[in-house]
């Protein structure tokens, strides 16, 4: 069970996250918590929830990064939701000593069997992305289930059969689908937008893809259409009117 499936999953269900669209509202994380605290890996225990140092299990966390271009000095602020990437070569699965951690052959989803997990935490050490969290209260590891209890749930209307984070995103920054099928909508989006793997050098071959922000004119060096970046000390009077230049001469 702990070995990766012998027959590589043909179907690779996963998420595509559009960093150009995400506004960093945390709705995906909140709805994830809401659904999953009553779902497959319930509960998502909180420790000291109303105290001074609340902490608890979350399957999805939203970080905010800034990227400053070395040459242009221009920066981009990027909101960055991160959850399990359901890797093809999931190291969290192969390190598991009990077989509690497994990757499903039918759709590639990585799950934890809470009945056999011993809570050794090694899977959280093996994951580069911080997708696995220890539930102190239950003594087992928990992680994103890709809402396995929603996506196949016939009691839900078909439009709701997607992960909670995807259905709730008010900006439409999250897509769900089969990344193993090149003709699927998600695969096409990834191909068109140049979707990337996080930390490809770690060799995990993640299924989830991230769409980098679209390049804008301000990202291109010396694009005349982009707004000027004003230097803090402006000593030049170039481009000023006749009167302003005269005053400048008088004052300097």
């Amino acid at each position: 069970m702990t070995s990766l499936p012998k027959n590589k999953p043909q179907k690779k269900l996963g998420l595509v996250i559009d960093l150009d669209i995400c506004v960093g509202c945390h709705a995906c994380a909140v709805n994830c918590k809401e659904w999953n605290t009553g779902g497959h890996s319930a509960p998502l225990t909180d420790i000291d929830p109303y105290g001074a140092k609340p902490k608890g299990v979350w399957f999805n966390r939203i970080h905010t990064f800034e990227a400053v271009h070395e040459e242009t000095g221009r920066s981009r602020t990027v909101h960055f939701p991160k959850s399990c990437l359901h890797c093809d070569d999931a190291p969290c699965v192969t390190v598991c000593p009990t077989g509690a951690s497994y990757k499903r052959e039918e759709d590639g989803i990585v799950l934890v069997n809470a009945d056999t997990c011993i809570g050794c935490k090694l899977c959280s050490w093996a994951c580069p992305y911080g997708a696995r969290e220890y539930d102190e209260d239950e003594g087992v590891m928990k992680k994103c289930t890709l809402c396995v209890d929603r996506i196949y749930n016939e009691n839900l209307p078909e439009s709701s059969r997607a992960p909670a984070c995807v259905t709730t995103c008010p900006a439409g920054a999250r897509h769900f689908g089969d990344l193993g099928d090149p003709s699927s909508t998600v695969s096409k989006i990834v191909a068109k937008r140049g979707g990337v793997d996080l930390m490809p050098e770690q060799g995990t071959r993640p299924v989830n893809k991230y769409l980098p922000p679209r390049l804008k004119n301000i990202d291109k060096t010396n694009d005349p259409a982009s707004p000027r970046m004003l230097a803090h000390q402006d000593s030049s009077s170039d481009g000023a009117g006749l009167l302003a230049r005269w005053v400048d001469k008088l004052l300097s």
């Binding site: 702990t2 400053v68 960055f80 699965v93 000593p97 009990t98 011993i118 050794c120 990337v196």
Partner: protein
């Protein structure tokens, strides 16, 4: 990485226990020592206490210790599982070797004692090797992802075992005591070399992953975290985000080298040169004790100094 006390105790104690077992088995194979029951009781007793105590302590950090037996099932893929299995299987040859030492005249035990000694050596070293591979196999912790980690675990296990063996044989006044003191000295020097190389590699190591590769934003420039996902530390930060000030790390390395290696080298060298056996015992005992403290500091640093790539999502720039 968070230096968990249970894991530090487990790796140092069981490492010394397996090391001692290797030298006991070696002594049997080379007929270096007389077979006395009291010595067997104390020496094998100590080895088993260290090994079992370490193994028990390692289960304390589990969320469900009562399910620990399940950890032996996934030996095909998991180094942790292989370690658990080897640890349990090793008790067979080690136990039979101990019984033989207690009742050497028992014919069947005597007959199988050779293979059991070999089995003890192989299984003890294999268990330590598997323990080391748990750490060395993790790509996410570049400080550990190296052969140096495996070398360090094996050499330090044999080193601490040899020091115990030297002390015990000296206590019994055996002829082989001097030889084991020399073996211990050689392994301390070897251990010091391995640890210095380990630290040199750490200092010269290029970054494996960066905040740019972790976010896929490298093309946009230098990537910095501006807002954390939560207002307090979470599990990931507590477990993987352990930080130790560089100046403390430098000081602790000096302490580890001084106590773990240099002091034992001095004390053992003195003991080897001296004739007075009671003074030799005192020196060896001090060497074992101070060396043990040094090894605990070394193991604490092994965890505390190692950085995990997940911290790139929490403010680190390159790991």
């Amino acid at each position: 990485m968070h230096p968990a006390k249970s894991v530090i105790f487990f790796t140092t104690a069981s490492g010394a226990g397996y090391g001692l077992m290797v030298w006991l088995a070696m002594a049997k194979l080379l007929n270096l020592l007389p077979l006395q029951p009291l010595f067997a009781c104390v020496a094998f007793g100590l080895a088993f206490i260290l090994i079992i105590g370490g193994l028990l302590s390692s289960t304390f950090h589990l969320g469900h210790p009562e399910r620990a037996w399940r950890a032996m099932s996934q030996w095909q893929s998991s180094w942790l599982s292989r370690e658990g299995l080897a640890a349990v299987l090793s008790f067979a040859p080690m136990g039979l070797l101990a019984l033989y030492w207690l009742w050497p005249e028992q014919a069947l035990l005597a007959q199988i004692s050779g293979p059991m000694a070999w089995g003890s050596i192989i299984m003890a070293l294999l268990t330590v090797f598997f323990t080391a591979m748990i750490y060395a196999s993790l790509k996410t912790i570049p400080a550990w992802h190296s052969r140096m980690t495996v070398m360090a675990y094996l050499v330090l296990s044999l080193m601490s075992g040899a020091m115990l063996m030297a002390l015990l044989t000296m206590l019994w006044g055996y002829d082989g005591a001097g030889l084991f003191a020399i073996i211990a000295l050689v392994f301390i020097l070897f251990g010091l070399g391995v640890k210095l190389l380990y630290w040199a590699r750490l200092a010269g190591k290029k970054a494996v992953s960066t905040a740019g590769s972790a976010t896929g934003l490298a093309d946009f420039g230098a990537v910095t975290l501006v807002e954390s996902p939560h207002s307090t530390d979470n599990y990931l930060l507590e477990e993987m985000g352990f930080k130790i000030a560089r100046k403390h790390a430098a000081k602790l390395r000096k302490i580890a080298v001084l106590l773990g290696f240099l002091t034992p080298i001095l004390l053992l060298s003195l003991a080897i040169m001296l004739e007075n056996s009671s003074l030799q015992i005192v020196l060896l005992f001090a060497g074992v004790m101070l060396g043990g403290i040094g090894l605990v500091v070394e193991r604490w640093l092994f965890f505390a100094e190692a950085k995990h790539v997940v911290t790139l999502y929490y403010g680190e720039h390159a790991i």
